[in-house]
């Protein structure tokens, strides 16, 4: 690269000196403009046909070109006024006349110092953006090598900016015959007009080359683009390094050479190799995976245990429910032993008034959360209540849970008693006199839908039926809990034995006994027979 730099830089330096003789400018096409102004400043934005853009902005005392600050201005100063006057004209102009007006703008004579320097930079930026250099056929080329850049004074800067492209340039120039004249253009757009002839070769770095005329040599384009129109002819090779070629029916005598082709081939080979390695790795992983599956390590995939999974799941589910029955029965036995009277009151209430109990249970369930929160708040606002609130927070949910469990077990006991009274063949073992037996039977009865669901799920293709049974089980459980919870609430945890009779339905035995008692009273008293009032029997 240094060898290349050593060979090119003197050439470029020479080129800088002769550039003005070799090229003349034409104005770019402006396809879009935006002129804006406010109290804080005035800005101009241009978009050119080649999609390049220019933005010159005077805002809040700062002047910037394409977002880069280039100086400052005083609002209301001569510079500000001159700029606003230019933009005032620009508002009513488009494309060609607009470009002419912008290029014609001169730095006001009366500006001095920093303002003058800023205005000069703006003027240069406008001219640089608007002018396209043209390789003229009529130009008499005095030197064998000619160099031009985006602007004379900054050619060296342009070259320095392009240093990272020199490697690419070196490859592109390799083997190029530069025996004839050579033109080098850096960071600028070049047009070879129709009918013109360029002797020798042409190198364009980071620019757009449009060929409408004839080039009697090679063309090298690095990091730019080249368009060969119908009338364009290149006698030599067209070498492109990281460049875009638009061949619009133009003629290329020496063919197109893609300088980066070798690199691209190498890149492709490397990519293929990496792809192969990844494939091999995936294959290996897959193989290991399959091996693991056949070792029955994975439940979700195929294995030799697959046919037995429904049986295992079904039997497991049944066992799970039986264990649940056992645990609940133990808890229930505890309740019977230590709070048998309460339990009896609750189950009696649930039996006699299941509808009312269920409604109270549902209402109670909905009120649980508000009561809990309001209770905590009410306790917390008083200093004395704070310790109670600390206990309230965990104990209230625990008490609610216990109440629901107690109610559920009471309902289970009722269910067990009902099963004992039925004539089902498998209910013979239930002893009505033993409350533990009836409770266990009731629990099994309440969980029967779940148990049946698990059993059904063992059989293939009956998943829907199993799902239905699970749904029934859930509904039964919810209803039982609500009835039981309501009964617990109605009887204040079974502490109000008188309550269970409050909603008695018509009991034939009781009615018969009452009637018998009434007859006896009639005979004893005064023999008024039909006029006797059983209600007055004392």
């Amino acid at each position: 690269m240094y060898r290349l730099l050593r060979s090119i830089l003197p050439v470029l330096a020479l080129g800088v000196l002769i550039l003005p003789d070799g090229a003349h400018g034409q104005l770019r096409e402006i396809v879009a403009k935006s002129v804006s102004a406010s109290s804080s400043g005035a800005s101009l934005e241009l978009t050119f046909a080649d999609e390049r853009e220019l933005e010159v902005s005077f805002e809040n005392g700062s002047v910037s070109v394409d977002g880069e600050s280039i100086g400052s201005y005083e609002p209301g100063s001569d510079l500000d006024a001159a700029w606003r006057a230019l933009l005032g004209d620009a508002m009513g102009l488009e494309n060609g006349p607009l470009a002419d007006r912008l290029v014609a703008w001169e730095v006001p004579e009366d500006l001095a110092g920093e303002a003058r320097a800023t205005a000069t930079t703006v003027d240069e930026a406008l001219e640089e953006a608007l002018q396209v250099s043209t390789a003229s056929a009529s130009a008499t080329v005095q030197s064998r090598i000619m160099v031009s850049g985006s602007e004379d004074g900054t050619l060296a800067e342009a070259l320095l900016r392009s240093v990272d492209r020199l490697g690419l340039l070196g490859e592109a120039l390799e083997g190029l015959s530069t025996g004839d004249r050579l033109r080098i253009h850096v960071e600028e757009d070049v047009v070879v007009p129709e009918g013109s002839v360029v002797e020798g070769s042409m190198v364009v770095i980071e620019g757009m080359l449009t060929i409408e005329g004839e080039i009697r040599g090679d063309v090298v384009v690095v990091d730019g683009s080249v368009e060969i129109l119908e009338t364009g002819v290149v006698h030599g090779e067209l070498r492109a390094a990281d460049a875009r070629i638009l061949r619009n029916r133009g003629e290329i005598g020496g063919g197109i050479v893609d300088v980066l082709e070798t690199e691209r081939d190498l890149e492709r080979e490397l990519r293929d190799r990496i792809r192969e390695e990844i494939r091999a790795e995936i294959r290996s992983d897959l193989r290991n995976e399959i091996r693991n599956v056949t070792r029955m390590d994975h439940d979700d995939d195929f294995s030799i245990m697959a046919p037995f999974r429904p049986v295992i799941r079904g039997v497991g589910g049944v066992l799970e429910k039986l264990i649940l029955v056992f645990v609940l029965a133990v808890v229930g036995a505890g309740f019977l032993a230590f709070a048998g009277e309460n339990m009896e009151t609750i189950s009696e209430t649930a039996r006699r008034s299941p509808g009312r109990a269920a409604m109270v249970g549902v209402a109670g369930s909905f009120l649980l959360l508000p009561v809990w929160i309001l209770g905590a708040v009410a306790l917390a606002i008083s200093i004395v209540g704070i310790p109670v609130a600390i206990a309230w927070l965990p104990l209230f949910p625990l008490a609610a849970g216990l109440a629901a469990l107690l109610g559920y077990l009471a309902v289970a006991q009722n269910t067990g008693e009902w099963l004992a009274r039925t004539d089902f063949p498998w209910t013979g073992w239930i002893e009505r006199s033993n409350p533990v037996y009836t409770m266990v039977a009731g629990l099994i009865g309440l969980l029967l839908a779940f148990i049946a669901g698990h059993v059904i799920s063992i059989a293939p293709f009956l998943d829907f039926l199993a799902g239905l049974l699970f749904a029934v089980g859930i509904i039964v459980t919810i209803v039982a809990v609500q009835i039981g919870f309501g009964a617990v609430l109605l009887t204040r945890g079974g502490r109000r034995p008188e309550y269970r009779g409050a909603y008695d339905t018509y009991d034939t035995d009781v009615a018969w006994e009452a009637a018998m008692q009434a007859d006896m009273d009639v005979n004893v008293d005064d023999g008024l027979g039909a006029d006797a009032d059983p209600g007055n029997d004392g």
Binding site: E29, I30, V31, A32, K33, S34, V35, S36, A37, S38, S39, S40, A42, T47, P75, G76, D80, R84, L87, G88, M91, G92, E94, N95
Partner: protein, 277 residues
């Protein structure tokens, strides 16, 4: 156009002197006409004074805007066949106390086939769509005072033109020049004036859904009109129309060169038909 540019130029000069405490910005944006043969144009404008017309100065569009730069920014975005114009909020809300209104003066290329979608809010709108080559038109406005005129015939056939009007005083004239097969006007609350003038090139259907308000149908003599009314608590002044069964027809409906069938769905309001020469 000249007036708008002159005004913008004057603003450019006067702003530094008079606009010390203002955050108003004026901007002129334009783009040269390219090889556009199929454009979808969307124009959005929130509040202010809004005008649209055609231009034949070799421009795809020219937009003169005056807006509060603290709250809005201009949009002029051409991507493929989609052109988006107008202003958009930069998220600092709308100053409802502001006494000065923004302005959007838009010129669109004459003769370039386009689907035009106009959305504007609380504005005073003056739109002249004459000369534009409209293949589809969607206009929706909120609480506005809008005047839409189609001063010249649309050179391309339009399938449907839709006007959605919120709470507005809305006037549309020369609908015949739209060159549309179907025109639909949905109006919420307000006074609606629909002018069926212009050069009708084919028979068309006009649907009008009106919530609460008054509708004045301006019908040129010679145009065949059939009015089908489905209304609730709406009075109809159908002078010059003859009732035939469930519909009202102009006397020369069957012999007219072009006929317009109007389906009117209205609730709580009044409908009047005005004949014009």
């Amino acid at each position: 156009m000249r007036i708008a540019i002159l005004a913008a130029t004057a603003a450019l000069w006067t702003i530094p002197v008079t606009g010390e405490a203002q955050s108003w910005r004026t901007v002129t944006m334009s783009r040269q006409l390219g090889d556009h043969d199929d454009l979808r144009v969307t124009v959005e404008y929130g509040a202010g004074v809004f005008s649209v017309r055609s231009t034949d100065e070799g421009l795809l569009y020219r937009m003169n805007l005056k807006y509060d730069e603290d709250r809005f920014e201009p949009v002029a975005d051409l991507a493929g066949d989609r052109l988006r114009l107008g202003i958009e909020s930069v998220g600092r809300g709308i100053d409802i106390d502001s006494r000065e209104a923004g302005e959007l003066d838009l010129e669109l290329a004459r003769g370039v086939p386009m689907d035009l979608d106009l959305k504007f809010g609380a504005v005073e709108a003056d739109l002249d769509l004459g000369g534009l080559a409209l293949r589809d038109l969607d206009l929706s406005t909120g609480a506005s005072e809008s005047r839409v005129d189609v001063s010249e015939p649309n050179p391309v056939r339009m399938e449907t033109a839709t006007f959605e009007v919120g709470a507005a005083d809305f006037t549309v004239r020369n609908l015949g020049n739209l060159n549309a097969d179907r025109i639909q006007i949905d109006a919420g609350v307000g006074a609606l004036t629909v002018g069926l003038e212009g050069r009708w090139q084919r028979d068309a259907r006009l649907g009008i859904d009106m919530g609460l308000g008054s509708l004045e149908l301006r019908v040129p003599e010679g145009l065949g009109v059939r009015l089908r009314k489905d209304s609730f608590l709406t009075s109809l002044d159908s002078e010059g129309l003859i009732k035939r069964g469930d519909v009202y027809e102009s006397p020369d409906f069957d012999d007219a060169d072009h006929r317009v069938v109007i389906d009117l769905d209205a609730a709580f309001g009044s409908v009047s038909v005005v004949w014009i020469n």
